[in-house]
C-alpha cells in the first residue's frame, strides 16, 4: 500500500519578502532584477544596433557617440556589453541547471542505487571535490570540445561534485527520519521516496546554493570565454568581449573593463541574493560569505518595565578595619557591569568579603547568582566590555584597582577552572604549558622551568611526570588534568587558589581526589582557597566559611559548621534543605526551591528573593536588605511555614 505519508518540512520559514528587506537582500535582489531585466530587454532594444558595422568608426576610444568605444568593426561596445547580458546569463543558468541535476543524481545515489553503489559514488565525489572547479572545467572542455555547448557541459559537469556533496549531506540529514523508514516499510519505491519525501526537505538549501552557484557559473563562463574556449565569434558574451578588449587596453581600457564590471555585478547579484535567502532560512551555503556573521558579543536584552535596579553602590554596613598582614584578599562593594542592548546589567551588585591567610571560603548559589563572575573579577580575568568596579579590591595588600600586577597575580594567585577538558591548550605539551608562566614571571631558564613543572606534576600525584610533561592534554584524563591545573597554580608560590566549580565536571571518586589534593596543598603552605560551587555539601565539607550569593549579592556570610543548623537567611536554609542525604526519603519528591532564579538584567524591587520566599512581606517587596551581621534579610532566622521548603515542589 503506497501510503502517501506526510513529509514534514523541518524548518521554520519566515516570510520571504521580510527577509529580503535586509540591506543584503535589497542589494542582491535589486541587482538581480537589474541583470535579469537587461538580459530580457537589451537584445530586443539594441540587438540590431550592437551588430551594426560602422567602418567609419573602427577601433575608436570612448566618445560622445560611443561611450565605451568601438570594436574592430566599429560596433558600439557599451551596447554589445548590454546585449551580451542575455547570453552570459542564459549560459550560466544552463550550466547551473546541469550541475544541480547531475549533483542531485550523484548525491542521492545511495537512495536510488542502494548503499553499496552509494558508497562508491560518495568516494568518487569526495575525490572530485578536492580538485578546483576550473581544472575540472578545462578537462571537460577537452572532452566536450570548444564552444557554447561544450562549455555549458564542461561547467555543468565541473560544478556537479560540489552539489553532489551538498545533496549527500542534506539527504543524510533526512535519511534516518521516521517518516522515511515508514515509507520504506510501506513499500514505497525508491524514486517515489526521493521525489515525494526527500526532495521537498532538501529543496530549500538546494535552491539557495544553486542561486549562489549560478554566480559562480557566470564567472567560470566568463573565464572560459576569456580563454577562448567558450563562446565563439560571431556570438559574444562578457568573457569574449573582455578577451577582445584586453589587446586594446592602452587605447580603450573600457573595452575590457566594462564587460569585466558587468561580470562582477551579475556575479554579485546572484551571490548576494543567495546569501540573503540563505541567512534568512539559516541555511549553510557552500560559499564563504556566511563566515562574516558571528563574532559580535551576544548581549542579553533587558526587559522593559521594571525599575532600573542599579548597582546599589551604598557602602556596606560592616566596620572598617585595617588590612592586617594575615589578609590575603579584601573585597568591598565589588560591582560587575555588563553592557546590554538596553543600557547595563549588574550581575554582581556590591559584594564584600575577606579571605585570611590559609582560610577556605566557599561561595554557593544557583546559576546566575554571580558567583563565577565574582571569582573572575577578583582574579582580574574579566575583559571589556564587562567592567569591574569596587570600593576596595586588594590582594596580598596590593591594590588591584590600579597599576599592573601581572607578576603578583601570575605567581601568587592560582586559578582552577570548571572544565578540565577544555582548560589546557590542545596543541601544546603539558610541560610547556606549566612552565611558561614561571619562565615569564620568575625568569627561569627553559631547563629550570621544565624541571619545576615535572616536580609540580609529581607533587599533584601524576605518575611518571617526566613522560607526562611531554604529552598533550588529550592524553590526560579529566581528573589528571584538574590535578595538573592545580600543579600549574603551584608553579609560583600561591597565597590564594580561586577554584571555580573545580569538581563539577568530574565523577564522584575523582572529585574526592581533587578536593583532597586541594586540602593537602592548603595545609602544606597555608594557602587560602576561594571555592566557588553550587554544591552545598562540598563547600560545607571543604571550607571554613561560606558566602551565600543570590542575585549578585552576598545574602549570608556564615561559618561552614553552622550551615546545617545555624543558617538564618531563608534562601540558605532552602539551599541546605535541598541537599539530599542518606536519610532522605526517596519515595518523596526531592526538595527544590520554588520559582526561578532572577535575571540579573531584570531585577524586581525589594529583596530579589522575595518572590520565592515563604516569609516575604510587604517590606521585603519594596526595600532591599543590606548585609548586616552576616545576613541580608528583614526576617532572619524566623520560623519557616511548616510546608516549606520540604513540600514546595511546584
Amino acid at each position: 500500500m503506497p501510503a502517501s505519508l506526510p513529509a514534514p518540512i523541518h524548518r521554520s520559514r519566515p516570510r520571504l519578502p521580510a527577509t529580503l528587506r535586509t540591506p543584503l537582500g535589497v542589494t542582491g535582489t535589486g541587482l538581480l532584477a537589474l541583470v535579469l531585466a537587461t538580459a530580457l530587454l537589451a537584445p530586443l532594444l539594441w540587438g540590431g544596433a550592437a551588430e551594426a558595422v560602422d567602418t567609419a568608426a573602427m577601433l575608436q576610444g570612448p566618445s560622445a557617440d560611443h561611450w565605451a568605444g568601438t570594436d574592430n568593426l566599429g560596433r558600439d561596445l557599451l551596447l554589445r556589453t548590454l546585449v551580451a547580458t542575455r547570453l552570459s546569463v542564459v549560459l550560466a543558468l544552463a550550466a547551473t541547471a546541469l550541475a544541480v541535476t547531475i549533483g542531485l543524481l550523484l548525491g542521492t545515489a545511495s537512495l536510488l542505487l542502494g548503499p553499496r553503489a552509494g558508497r562508491l559514488v560518495t568516494a568518487g565525489v569526495n575525490i572530485a571535490v578536492a580538485f578546483p572547479g576550473l581544472l575540472l572545467a578545462l578537462s571537460f572542455a577537452v572532452i566536450f570540445g570548444v564552444g557554447q555547448v561544450g562549455s555549458v557541459l564542461a561547467i555543468g559537469f565541473a560544478g556537479a561534485p560540489a552539489f553532489a556533496r551538498l545533496c549527500q549531506t542534506l539527504v543524510a540529514g533526512v535519511a534516518d527520519r521516521d517518516y522515511l523508514a515508514a515509507a520504506r516499510l510501506a513499500g514505497v519505491g525508491r524514486l517515489r521516496i526521493l521525489l515525494r519525501h526527500v526532495l521537498p526537505n532538501v529543496g530549500g538549501p538546494l535552491v539557495v546554493n544553486a542561486t549562489i552557484g549560478a554566480g559562480g557559473a557566470l564567472l567560470s563562463f566568463a573565464g572560459l570565454s576569456f580563454l577562448g574556449l567558450g563562446v565563439q565569434a560571431p556570438a559574444y558574451d562578457w568573457g569574449r568581449l573582455m578577451q577582445d578588449g584586453l589587446d586594446r587596453i592602452y587605447l580603450d581600457p573600457l573595452a575590457a573593463l566594462l564587460p569585466g564590471f558587468a561580470v562582477v555585478v551579475a556575479g554579485l547579484a546572484f551571490n548576494l541574493t543567495g546569501e540573503a535567502v540563505a541567512r534568512a532560512f539559516s541555511i549553510d551555503s557552500i560559499s564563504g560569505v556566511s563566515l562574516l556573521a558571528g563574532g559580535a558579543l551576544r548581549t542579553r536584552r533587558r526587559a522593559d518595565g521594571g525599575a532600573a535596579p542599579g548597582p546599589h553602590a551604598t557602602p556596606s554596613a560592616e566596620v572598617e578595619h585595617d588590612a592586617g598582614p594575615d589578609l590575603v584578599l579584601d573585597v568591598a562593594d565589588l560591582v560587575v557591569t555588563v553592557p546590554t542592548a538596553a543600557g547595563a546589567a549588574w550581575p554582581v551588585r556590591g559584594v564584600t568579603f575577606r579571605v585570611a591567610r590559609g582560610e577556605a571560603v566557599g561561595v554557593v548559589g544557583e546559576s546566575g547568582s554571580g558567583k563565577t563572575l565574582t571569582a573572575l573579577a577578583v582574579a582580574d580575568l574579566l575583559e571589556p566590555p564587562t567592567t569591574v568596579t569596587a570600593r576596595r579590591l586588594s590582594f596580598q595588600g596590593r591594590d588591584l584597582l590600579s597599576g599592573d600586577h601581572r607578576t603578583l597575580l601570575g605567581t601568587e594567585l592560582a586559578m582552577v577552572f570548571q572544565d578540565p577538558m577544555s582548560s589546557f591548550n590542545p596543541v601544546r605539551r603539558m610541560g610547556g604549558q606549566l612552565a611558561e608562566g614561571a619562565r615569564h614571571h620568575l625568569g627561569l631558564t627553559r631547563r629550570q622551568a621544565r624541571d619545576r613543572a615535572v616536580d609540580r606534576l609529581r607533587s599533584v600525584r601524576i605518575g611518571e611526570p617526566e613522560r607526562r610533561a611531554g604529552q598533550y592534554p588529550h592524553e590526560f584524563s579529566g581528573g589528571m588534568r584538574q590535578r595538573a591545573m592545580i600543579g600549574l597554580g603551584l608553579m609560583g608560590s600561591p597565597a590564594l587558589i580561586v577554584a571555580d566549580e573545580p569538581t563539577t565536571a568530574l565523577d564522584v571518586t575523582v572529585q574526592r581526589q581533587v578536593l583532597d589534593l586541594l586540602a593537602e596543598v592548603r595545609e602544606r603552605d597555608a594557602v587560602a582557597l576561594l571555592l566557588i560551587s553550587h554544591d552545598v555539601s562540598v563547600v560545607a565539607d571543604v571550607c571554613d566559611r561560606v558566602l551565600v550569593m543570590y542575585a549578585g549579592r552576598v545574602v549570608e556570610d556564615l561559618p561552614a559548621a553552622e550551615l546545617a543548623t545555624g543558617a538564618r537567611h531563608p534562601y540558605t536554609r532552602a539551599l541546605v534543605a535541598a541537599v539530599p542525604h542518606l536519610g532522605t526519603d526517596l519515595d518523596r519528591p526531592l526538595a527544590v526551591i520554588p520559582g526561578r532564579p532572577v535575571d540579573p538584567a531584570d531585577l524586581p524591587a525589594g529583596c530579589p528573593f522575595a518572590p520565592r520566599c515563604p516569609l516575604a512581606d510587604a517590606r521585603c517587596r519594596t526595600e532591599e536588605p543590606e548585609l548586616v551581621d552576616g545576613v541580608a534579610c528583614w526576617r532572619p532566622g524566623e520560623d519557616l511555614p511548616a510546608a516549606v521548603p520540604e513540600e514546595a515542589t511546584a
Partner: protein, 345 residues
Amino acid sequence: MTTQTPTTARPAGAARPARPAGAGTGAGAAQHRWLRFAVRRSGRLLVSLWVLVTAAFLMIHLVPGDPVRASLGPTASAELVAARRESLGLDQPLWVQYATYLRDLLTGDLGTSFGSQLPVADTIAQRLPATATLALLAFLVAVLVAVPVGVAVAVATRRGRAPRTELGFASTSVFLATIPDFLLAVALVWVFGVTLGWLPIAGQDGAASFVLPVLALAVGPAAVLARIVRVEMLAVLETDYVRTARAKRLPPSAVHLGHALPNAVTASLTLGGLLLGQLVAGTVLVESVFAWPGLGSTIVESILAKDYPLVQGTVLVYGVGVLIVNTLVDVALAVLDPRSTIGES
C-alpha cells in the same frame, strides 16, 4: 588500553578511539600513531592519484569521434591519420593502451605533442617552473597578509569593540573576495600598467613582472583567508584554554600568538587548503592575462589546438599539484594539532 598495531592501515572513522586518556600512550604509541597517519594519508593520496591518472587517460578516449582526425583536421589524408593512430597505439585494445600509459608514466614518458612533435615531458619541464613560482609566491603573499590581518582584526574587534573597523574589514574583504582573479588582473593591468605605467603588464622579465600576476592571484584568497582566520581567532579567543593562558598573566602577545594563533591557524588551514587548490588552478586564467610563459598558457593553447597528449600531460601535472597541496595541508595540520593524527577527520 592496548594500542592498535600499525598493520590496520585503514582504521577509518569507526576506529576513532574515544580515548579515555587515563591510560598512558608512550613514545612508542605516539610513533605508531604517526605511522598510522602516514599509511592512511599516503593510501588516500595513492587512490586519488590513480583516479587522476585514469581520468587523464580516459579523457582522450571520451572525445567524441576520432581524436587524431579531430586534431589533424578534415584535410589530412587517411594514411596520415592511420599512421598517427598506430604511432599513438590507438589501434590497440583499451586495456593494452592503459597498461602502456601507466608504464610510460612511471618512466616519466608523457607522450609526444601532436603539434611540436616534442616530448610532452620536456615542454612541461620547461613551462612548469614559471607557473610553480607564480603559485608559490601568490600563496606566500596570501598567507603572510591574511594571517596577521585576520589576527589583528580579530583582536581589535572582539566582543563588539571597534565596530567601524569590523564593518570596514567585512565589506573590503567581501568585495575583494568576490572579484575573480582574471578580472582583478585586468583591472591591475589598467591601473598599474596602463594608467600609472609603473609595472610591466606582460611576460616574465625580472622581479617587477611578478608583482601584478602575484597580486592578481593572491588578493582573492588572501581576503577569504583573512576572514576565516578572523572568525576562527574570535572563536579561539573565547575558549577556556585562552582564559587559562590569561590567568598565567602572560603578555597579550604571548596569549594571542602563542596560545590562540596555533589553534586558529589549525582550523583555518582546513578551509585554506581548498583555497590553495583553487589558487593553483587560477594560474591558468591569470597567465593568460599576463602572457605568462607557464603551463596555464600551454593548457589553453593545447586545448584549442586539440593537441591531446599535451592536454593530458598538463591536466595531469595540475592535478598532481593540487593533490600535493592537499597532502601538504594535511601534514601541516597533523604537525600543528596532535589530535588530528588520531583518526580520520
